[in-house]
């Protein structure tokens, strides 16, 4: 049941998953490093391997707009973007979520300008964090494939009906080939039957989508929307469990490594989690214990679960591949700090900035973070400002 083992880069794996999900409509605009996804899907459609409408829109703004239209019509819809493309979509992100259009979007994470850079940062994922989209983070190509299938399952669940982003690190995963197991089409069909839309556009049953709220109803609509998110984790867990039954591959909201033994932990997203674990294993061989906590489920943010995991540590380093200028901390740091604020016992929190614009994140950087945590532990005080690793110094 593991499926067939193939070698593909992250973009192709995502496109292959979307094809197996039998998407009805793809609406996308090319942008590096996501482009291979839409190129591959266009190929599938034009070769007759995928019975779908491919809308080669003229901008990302229109990509998401058309995706919303198609989703409201009841279609299973896929799109993909990165960085500036996400930024151009930003206005429409909110509307997709608020109109409850369960679009799945792959995001080849890329740094935002300036300066223009095509490599990995998590600026785009973070820029979407408040918009109501669910977000999953893939650590490797296998996960990029699996999470794309899972995203449809979760997004289209009637308890959810929210658009979902699958994040995969630009170039590090989008353009990197790894081995992965892909499901047989028939297994995907059983896992993901055709979408059953709720309130689709139907001329026999006319409804008004996207009306105006004055001061009298806007807040109530927000309340209904907001209250959906606490229910999402349960759906995610169920989808993970069903997927595990089908594939033998186990997914969890939060991955933990070495959490039992260590008094220090790093919290991290994306492909760097693997690098961090690799480095943590090497450190452990030297008797230096560090836990690695990575989030597969980034939105909704698993606040309680993370608090439960992190409470026991003395020091936690939160690694951000992005900056939130002028903020009390960078994005993941703020999420983690907020999650921990009401904990009975609190670890010292350090914010670490790494890997901006594709700056390679290596085991040496992980060691530096470990040493930093040791110092913090000794001092009993965390630095006020984020600590940068991998920066060119003197």
């Amino acid at each position: 049941m593991m499926g067939k083992r193939v070698g593909m880069n992250g973009d192709r794996a995502v496109a292959f998953a979307a094809k197996q999900a039998k998407v009805d409509v793809i609406s996308a605009y090319p942008i590096t490093p996501q482009t291979i996804i839409v190129e591959t899907l266009a190929e599938y459609v034009n070769n007759g391997e995928l019975d779908a409408a491919f809308i080669p829109v003229e901008s990302e703004h229109s990509a998401l707009s058309a995706a919303i239209g198609a989703s409201l019509a009841g279609a299973r819809v896929f799109t993909a973007t990165s960085s500036q493309g996400l930024a151009l979509m930003w206005e429409i992100l909110w509307i997709a979520a608020g109109l409850r259009a369960p679009i799945v979007m792959a995001m080849g994470n890329r740094a935002l300008s300036p300066n223009i850079n095509i490599h990995c940062s998590h600026d785009d994922a973070y820029a979407a964090r408040d918009t109501g989209w669910l977000q999953l983070f893939a650590e490797n190509v296998q996960e990029a494939y699996d999470l794309t299938l899972l995203a449809f399952k979760i997004a289209e669940d009637h308890r959810v009906l929210l658009p979902t982003i699958v994040n995969l690190d630009g170039f590090i995963l989008t353009h990197a080939a790894e081995g992965l197991y892909v499901l047989d089409d028939k297994d995907v069909d059983s896992f993901l039957p055709p979408r059953k839309p709720v309130n689709p556009i139907d001329p026999d049953n006319p409804k008004t989508y996207g009306p105006l709220d004055f001061t009298d109803w806007y807040m109530e609509h927000r309340k209904i929307w907001y209250d959906t998110y606490p229910n999402v984790p349960q759906v995610i867990k169920e989808a993970f469990a069903e997927y595990e039954k089908l594939t033998g591959r186990r997914y969890v909201q939060i991955k933990t490594f070495n959490a039992e033994d260590a008094d220090k932990a790093i919290v991290i997203l994306g492909s760097s989690a693997g690098t961090a674990r690799y480095a943590a294993r090497k450190l452990k061989e030297k008797g230096q214990n560090m836990a690695v906590i990575s989030l597969t489920q980034y939105r909704p943010f698993p606040r309680k679960e993370l608090r439960t995991i992190l409470e026991k540590f003395d020091v936690v380093a939160v690694l951000d591949r992005s900056l939130s200028f002028g903020s009390p901390g960078n994005q993941l740091f703020m999420d983690v700090a907020t999650s921990l604020y009401n904990a009975k016992k609190k670890p010292l929190l350090v914010n670490v900035v790494y890997g901006l614009g594709g700056r390679d994140f290596t085991p040496r950087h992980v060691e530096q973070v470990y040493q930093l945590m040791e110092e913090v532990q000794k001092r009993g005080e965390a630095p006020e400002e984020p600590v940068w690793v991998g920066l060119r110094e003197a």
Binding site: V6, G7, I172, G274, T275, D360, F361
Partner: protein, 190 residues
């Protein structure tokens, strides 16, 4: 104890199929049940500019997602690059260097001596011109690498190449031929 993984770094120029070679090597290793990470290095991708690609081949699942800085093997696809200092950067002591040349340069020999490298040489230009009639070095260099390193079996490479070029069986056949010739003709420099 067997190493967790081996790392290969490829050098060449944009348009020479550097990335394809690395990917084919990864796919071949995958056929042998190994774990792989193949990543192209992306700068401004322009034909003619120096480019590199990385292949990490593991006996265990690979979690490390960083670039390759201390390769076990370096393959230089482009014949005009053997004096570039970057091809030796980080190359492990007693590592393997595979170059496309008739004879190694002074610079190469100096590094071979200093680093205790295993140097392998193949005239991929000659092979490419005879097989393809055009300077396609990348697949012959893949053949040379297989002989030089034994990192994967020749059959796995041939099978990966045949699949990749299956749309055009003529091209597939020529590539298989070029790989086999390079595999035969590559010589260890003693």
């Amino acid at each position: 104890m067997e190493r967790e993984f081996y790392e290969v770094r490829w050098h060449g120029r944009g348009g020479q199929g550097v990335v394809t070679s690395s990917e084919l090597l990864a796919l071949a290793a995958l056929k042998e049940g190994k774990h792989v990470y193949h990543a192209p290095e992306f700068g401004p991708e322009r034909r003619g500019a120096p480019v590199r690609a990385y292949t990490r081949i593991g006996n265990v699942p690979l979690e490390l997602h960083s670039g390759i800085y201390e390769p076990d093997i370096v393959v230089v696809i482009d014949p005009s690059m053997q004096n570039e200092p970057f091809i030796f950067a980080g190359l492990k002591k007693n590592g393997t260097l595979v170059i496309n040349a008739k004879t190694p340069s002074e610079k190469v020999l100096e590094n071979v001596k200093n680093l205790g490298l295993n140097l392998w040489i193949v005239d991929a230009y000659k092979i490419a011109m005879e097989v393809f009639g055009r300077p396609f070095y990348n697949t012959p260099m893949l053949g040379a690498l297989v002989k030089a390193s034994n990192i994967v079996n020749l059959d796995s490479v041939l099978s990966a190449v045949s699949e990749r070029f299956s749309k055009d069986s003529k091209i597939a056949q020529l590539n298989v031929l070029a790989i086999k010739r390079a595999y035969e003709e590559v010589k260890k420099y003693e």
